[in-house]
Structure formats: structure tokens, C-alpha cells
């Protein structure tokens, strides 16, 4: 019983600390700029005014759509590519593949800033021959970020906990190798996929540096770029900025809320 009380107390404190800045952000979106800079903690009545100012100054809806297109495509492709690879590295393990795996891990270790100029040069030359994946296209934003060693690593580590004997059962039932992957592995690893989807969607939704340099036209702007523009002024309207941020944060929070329902204890037991 004591353990129970402790659990609730600890989690409540952690949740409050975690939630407080988020709450502050929401409160700020209802205040006018001068009050936001003064750190006012009470809700105000300026939300609608902030919202209408926001919609007047920037094209919020197209930017949300752009971000959604990029993030959804990136998430689907990333999950597919990385889980295939993570599965391949672990299930069909061999010395040579381990070497390749370790080699791929190296790609995580370099800061992205160092790759930006060469990557930009690469997409600059692609633009000459294939403008549809060149600079200022969504493809140029998605392609370099769609395969990450990070996610492959995560899938591989998770696969280590996957009960491999059920694959054998599948094979005996006449499933092909790829059939085993889609019919057995994917459904069993639902929570792993949920976690990966949350993380990938969020990273893509918030990604800033590469979209910033590669997307030139205002029509192609994503949400983080738009928020950055809102702060370009010498006297930025912080109420409007906070309103934009609240709107920008909701989709990622929503995705999490939907996906976290997958985290039900004892999942594996039910599969067996």
C-alpha cells in the first residue's frame, strides 16, 4: 500500500513539473504580448485576438498542411525501412552484416551541421536533372532524413527481445520469409512501432535546420519555419507567437496521445 502511495505521489510530481511549462504556454496564448514578456501567469482574454492576428499575418493552414505531408510521409517510410533493416540485422545475423551495422551506426555520430553544405550541394546538382526532388521540394526535405541509423538501432535492439521461435512456427506453417515479417513480426511488435512512430513523427514535425535551408518559397514553409518568421521582428508579438506554438504543438501531442494507448502491459502474453 505504501508503494502505491509513493507511486502516485512521485508520478504526480513528475507530471506537474513536466506539464507546467506546457500550461504556461497555453496561458500565454491568451494574453497580450506585453503581459507575456512580463511573465503573467493568469489566463487572459486575448486568445481570439491573437488568433485572428496570427491568421492575418501568416498562412497558418498551408504551413500546417505542408508539415503534415512531410511528417506523415517521413514516418511511414522511416518505419518501414528501419524495421526491415533492424529485423534483417538481428534475424539474419552474420559477421558481415554486423560489420555493416556498426558502420551504419557511424552515421549517427556526426553533427548534422557538418553535412549540411555537402548535402545542399548534392540537392543543388540534382535540381538540374530532376527538379521534382531538387531544392525547394518536399522530397528534398524527406529523403535525407527518412533513413536513420537511430531508428534501425532501436528496431534491432527491440528485436533482440522478440521471441524468435514463433518465426520458426510460422515457417513450418508455410509462410515465406517476408510473410513472417509482415504476418508475425509486425503485429507482435506493435508497441515498438508505436514508439518509433511517435519519435519519428515528432522529430520530423519539429525539424528546423534542413527544411530552413532547403525550402525557399513561402508556399512550402513548414510550421517551425513559420514560427521563426513570427519572431523576426525587433518587437515581436509574443502573444501571437505563443498562440502559433500552441497550435503547432497540438498535432504532435495528439499523435502521442493516440499512440500511447498501445502501451498496455502484458501485450506479448496475448500474442503467444
Amino acid at each position: 500500500m505504501l508503494k502505491r502511495v509513493f507511486s502516485y505521489a512521485f508520478l504526480t510530481i513528475a507530471a506537474i513539473i513536466s506539464f507546467f511549462p506546457f500550461l504556461w504556454m497555453i496561458i500565454s496564448s491568451t494574453n497580450k504580448s506585453v503581459d507575456v514578456t512580463k511573465g503573467r501567469l493568469l489566463p487572459g482574454s486575448y486568445f481570439l485576438e491573437n488568433l485572428s492576428n496570427l491568421l492575418e499575418t501568416v498562412d497558418l493552414v498551408p504551413a500546417l498542411m505542408n508539415s503534415a505531408k512531410i511528417s506523415i510521409t517521413t514516418t511511414i517510410l522511416s518505419l518501414l525501412i528501419a524495421s526491415l533493416a533492424g529485423y534483417g540485422f538481428e534475424i539474419y545475423q552474420s559477421k558481415a552484416k554486423d560489420m555493416v551495422f556498426n558502420f551504419l551506426l557511424l552515421s549517427m555520430m556526426i553533427p548534422f551541421a557538418a553535412l549540411m553544405v555537402p548535402l545542399f550541394r548534392m540537392f543543388g546538382s540534382i535540381s538540374q536533372t530532376a527538379p521534382f526532388i531538387g531544392i525547394d521540394t518536399f522530397a528534398a526535405v524527406i529523403l535525407p532524413t527518412v533513413t536513420t541509423a537511430f531508428l534501425i538501432f532501436f528496431f534491432r535492439q527491440s528485436t533482440k527481445m522478440f521471441p524468435k521461435d514463433i518465426l520458426e512456427a510460422g515457417r513450418i506453417d508455410g509462410l515465406t520469409e517476408i510473410g513472417c515479417f509482415f504476418r508475425i513480426y509486425v503485429p507482435t511488435m506493435k508497441t515498438t512501432y508505436s514508439a518509433a512512430a511517435i519519435i519519428t513523427f515528432m522529430a520530423s514535425w519539429n525539424s528546423y535546420l534542413w527544411p530552413l535551408v532547403v525550402l525557399q518559397s513561402p508556399e512550402n514553409q513548414t510550421i517551425p519555419l513559420l514560427i521563426s518568421v513570427l519572431g523576426s521582428s525587433y518587437s515581436p508579438d509574443f502573444g501571437v507567437i505563443m498562440t502559433a506554438i500552441v497550435i503547432a504543438t497540438l498535432p504532435a501531442a495528439f499523435i502521442f496521445f493516440i499512440m500511447q494507448k498501445q502501451f498496455v502491459a502484458g501485450m506479448m502474453g496475448s500474442v503467444k
Binding site: S18, F19, P21, V36, G88, L106, M108, M202, F263
Partner: protein, 307 residues
């Protein structure tokens, strides 16, 4: 290179030679797309960055200087400061965060716990909060007359407001608090997903045998989670060694370089100062080398058999 010692190869039991060949081919095809794309979008630019790290000059006026940049690195007081700061963050922050995330996940994995969804979402929220909001909020929380100081003063824990962001020591503390706040929920996700993959009957059996919660945690949960613990500690190490957002947005590396990180120095060399992309690439490779060393160390510590 990092070496992962392997479990015995998993091969179908009655495999003929041709079947094995076929399986090898299938195995490689699973990893083909990922490998090709990573080579194209990471290794090709990485090689170019390596070449650039042997050049020096402003903007496009680059000349080949061989290893001069690497020699300059070792005598560059700013670089040495950035390494020192980054390692401090790494050593103090990563263990705190990993343990905290693990602990919270285990609490949240309790089947009978109520309001799980609410707790999980609240704890995860910091890492979806936009950086812009994050920086404004943190500067308020840690401001001289910010909420944290008001709180501490009210409770009489301190008698004078702490200069959180303008004092070299406290600024580091503020950064560590900020990273922990933002990334604990993120790491929690990996643990939660892994905990779901543990067969619950193992716990039931242990309880039957009269194991205490502590025994269960250390004897069952930790060993079973080892692959993911290794994963989170390596990725957190990488994240911390490449730390940029928090410092850039909260202290800009100040006061007087007290909180500056290696990645921020790369940013400054590329964009804030007259651009020197050659030297910036050299600093980037210094990060790569450090991460490789730390990662090998972590793989080794995590041990052979089940990692």
C-alpha cells in the same frame, strides 16, 4: 570500430546449402534499402566533410591545409572549453536521465495503476513543446525574479535570488535541468515500449516465488531491458555530445562561454562568425571521434552475451 559480440547464428535447423544461400540473399535484401540510403545521404556528405576538414579559409576561399586544422583544435581554448562543458553535461546528466526514465517507466508499467494515460502524456509533453516556447519559458522560470527563485525564496531555501542564467555555475545547472526536463519523457517511451514486450508471466512467477519488488527490478527487469538500456544510453550520449538546441536557446553559450557546447561552436564557426566551414568540419569530426570512443566503452560495459 564498434564490435557487437553475437549470439550464435540463427539458421534454420535443417538447412541445405541452397536454402542457406537463399536465406543469405533474403537477409541482405532486408537491409539493402536502408544501407543504400544511408550511404547516399550520410556517408557521401561525410566524406566531403572530411575533405573539407583539411581545408581552411573564409566562405568559398578554401585552401588545402592538411592536418593544420586538427593541430589548431588542440590549441584552441574555446574548443577545449566546449569539450569540458559537454563532458560535464554528459557525465552528470545522462545517468540521471536514464535512471529517472527507467524508474518512471517501471512505475507506469503497473497494470493496476490508474490514470496511466494522463501521467504518460504529461511526462512526454516536454519533448513535443516547441523550442521557441521552451526557451522563452525556461528563461522565465530561471530569470532573476523568475518562478523558481520566487519559490525557493518563499520556502526560505535561499536568502538571495540565484543568478541562474548569468552566473557560470548556475547556468550549467539550469542547462542540465532543462535537458533532463525535455528528454526524460522521450527516453521513457523506449522503455515503455520495451516493457510491453516482456512476458508478464515471468513477473507472476517471480512474485509466486516471493521476490520483492526490488529483486524483481534488478534481477528481472534490468537484465531483460538491457538491449534498450544500451540503446538509450548510446543515443543519449550522442545527443548530449551534439547538444545544441537547449544551450543556443537558453543561454547562447554564455555567460562568457560557461555553457557553450561543441555543436554550438560548430554553429558559430559556420554562421555567426565569418564562415570557416573547413574548421567547423574539423570540430565535427572531433565529436565523431569522441562518440566512437564512448560508444565502444558502452557496448563493452553492457557486456557480451545478451547485448
Amino acid at each position: 570500430m564498434i564490435t557487437v559480440k553475437t549470439k550464435q547464428n540463427i539458421q534454420p535447423m535443417h538447412s541445405t546449402r541452397s536454402l542457406r544461400m537463399k536465406n543469405t540473399a533474403i537477409g541482405w535484401s532486408f537491409i539493402a534499402i536502408a544501407t543504400v540510403l544511408i550511404c547516399l545521404f550520410y556517408f557521401y556528405p561525410m566524406v566531403q566533410a572530411l575533405i573539407m576538414s583539411m581545408q581552411s579559409g573564409t566562405g568559398t576561399n578554401l585552401t588545402f591545409v592538411g592536418l593544420d586544422n586538427y593541430a589548431r583544435l588542440l590549441q584552441d581554448p574555446t574548443f577545449l572549453t566546449t569539450v569540458k562543458n559537454t563532458v560535464i553535461y554528459l557525465i552528470i546528466q545522462v545517468p540521471i536521465m536514464i535512471i529517472l526514465a527507467l524508474f518512471i517507466s517501471v512505475l507506469l508499467n503497473d497494470k493496476t495503476l490508474k490514470l496511466k494515460g494522463v501521467f504518460r502524456t504529461a511526462i512526454f509533453l516536454p519533448c513535443v513543446t516547441s523550442l521557441v516556447a521552451y526557451s522563452v519559458i525556461f528563461k522565465y522560470l530561471f530569470g532573476q525574479d523568475g518562478i523558481i527563485n520566487i519559490f525557493l525564496l518563499k520556502l526560505s531555501i535561499i536568502s538571495e535570488p540565484i543568478q541562474w542564467l548569468t552566473d557560470p555555475f548556475w547556468a550549467k545547472v539550469a542547462i542540465i535541468v532543462a535537458i533532463t526536463w525535455r528528454w526524460t519523457g522521450y527516453n521513457m517511451i523506449f522503455y515503455l515500449s520495451a516493457l510491453q514486450n516482456i512476458d508478464h508471466s515471468i513477473y507472476e512467477a517471480a512474485k509466486m516465488d516471493g521476490a520483492s519488488p526490488f529483486q524483481i527490478f534488478f534481477k528481472i527487469t534490468i537484465p531483460l531491458l538491457k538491449p534498450i538500456i544500451l540503446f538509450t544510453s548510446i543515443t543519449s550520449t550522442i545527443g548530449t555530445l551534439q547538444l545544441f538546441d537547449e544551450v543556443m536557446n537558453i543561454t547562447q553559450g554564455g555567460p562568457g562561454n560557461a555553457t557553450i557546447t561543441i555543436s554550438q561552436y560548430i554553429y558559430n564557426l559556420s554562421f555567426k562568425y565569418t564562415p570557416d566551414f573547413g574548421y567547423a568540419a574539423t570540430v565535427s569530426y572531433a565529436i565523431v571521434i569522441m562518440i566512437v570512443i564512448f560508444s565502444i566503452f558502452q557496448f563493452k560495459v553492457a557486456g557480451d552475451k545478451n547485448a
